[in-house]
Symmetry: C2
DNA sequence: CAGGATCCACTATTGGATCCCG
DNA sequence: CGGGATCCAATAGTGGATCCTG
């Protein structure tokens, strides 16, 4: 299949996989050229750009929504930076709505909606290769198995309980076997509201997001290619 | 039981455990005083001294032999530095006789003879506490369970094969889940003979020893106190 | 700001080097 | 030296901070 910008969302998983197949083996530079987008050579100046380019070629239609990228298929798109066979970074899943987290069951959570079905697009992450020359790999269409699902839910529920009790300051990146909580903001000064725990008060704290640890995504890679 | 220097080897496991009980809770300084031994305040100047003191109080009789410390009982004595509930260091098991390793089955190895039954004496390893004030903990009389035994044997056999093939330079501290190989010498300049692999020749290389990784001894601690 | 992510300072771990005693 | 071990520089890994786009 020829590499081209998607004009419409994919109508089926097969169509999505066909589009993903047309991207596999291509470099970020090739996609940027076709999309008429300028890309910096240094990753530092282009965090997230490869993922946004991919959206255009695969036909993601959710925009900046708390919904899966492919709404019709219920599939989320994630790039996965891989170096020497292992994920180089954690994977951002979603921001945390601190004010609502305590009232939301895992089944109804943004985390679960984003992770129940994911199209992983591996991308080379060798620091010695400049961004335009980094290539995409073969797509992996994944859903959590029972174990993975249980791990995710346990991690989620532990965090939800702490937020509900107002013990935000006990939430650090150390929590969670697979799903971890880390700051998520343009810079450290940003503040947002969170439950205060006792009574209906609130407190101000930094915005946070859910991330998948590299060890967890490594397991996904291994199963896919083993 | 009163703390006192042992005049004879322990006649039974119970006697050994009774002596160990008399040491539990005592400080290195107390033992040194009774043994009329001078000890430096800094651990750096006294590596191994706590273990040697213990031998005197428990009645170890093997001296500097490749045999268990308590010959009659077939029990090896090991101190285990513990800080915040975890072993702070790896545990030295034995030197490696490179010239003989390839011909020796695990069952007949020094490693197995030393590890098939061990009296672990935990000792405080808080860096902020000077050596004389560090205290011994409650003894753990341990034998490997089937899993542990299998892990040790697998690690041993992998090393033995590399030595036999003369691929000494492929042996690094990275090998081994539980049992690891590391340099063991007064300084880096020491050299000894090892098989060269092809034919009956030999090569010169640094002396090495077997060590247990902290993760393995952590498991022993956890089972004993859980 | 929310969504796409990676950066990089710091911490934890590792494992090669070293220290004391008899 | 062999047996008793720990030291500590270097590396791997973690997780708080940050960067770009629309």
């Amino acid at each position: 299949m020829t590499l081209s910008l998607a004009k419409t969302p994919p109508a089926s998983e097969d169509e999505l996989l066909a589009r993903a197949g047309s991207v596999a083996g291509r470099s970020v530079g090739e996609l940027a050229m076709k999309a008429q987008v300028r890309i910096p050579k240094q990753m530092r100046r282009a965090k997230g750009l490869a993922g946004q380019l991919l959206e255009q070629f695969l036909g993601a239609d959710a925009g900046s929504k708390a919904e899966p990228d492919f709404r019709g298929l219920g599939i989320e798109l994630k790039t996965l930076p891989v170096h020497e066979g292992r994920p180089k970074e954690s994977t951002f899943v979603s921001t945390i709505e601190l004010d609502r987290l305590g009232d939301t069951d895992f089944e109804d959570s943004v985390v679960w909606h984003k992770l129940r079905r994911v199209l992983w697009m591996p991308i080379e992450a060798d620091p010695s290769v400049e961004l335009p020359h980094r290539r995409f790999g073969a797509a992996i269409l994944w859903s959590p198995d029972d174990d993975q699902r249980r791990t995710l839910q346990d991690d989620y529920e532990r965090v939800a309980e702490l937020v509900l009790r107002g013990r935000i300051d006990e939430i650090t990146g150390h929590l969670g076997d697979a799903l971890q909580v880390r700051p998520k903001a343009a810079h450290g000064g940003v503040r947002e509201r969170a439950p205060e725990g006792i009574g209906g008060g609130y407190q101000w704290t930094g915005p946070r997001g859910f991330y998948l640890r590299p060890g967890f995504t490594a397991g996904i890679l291994e199963r896919a290619f083993r």
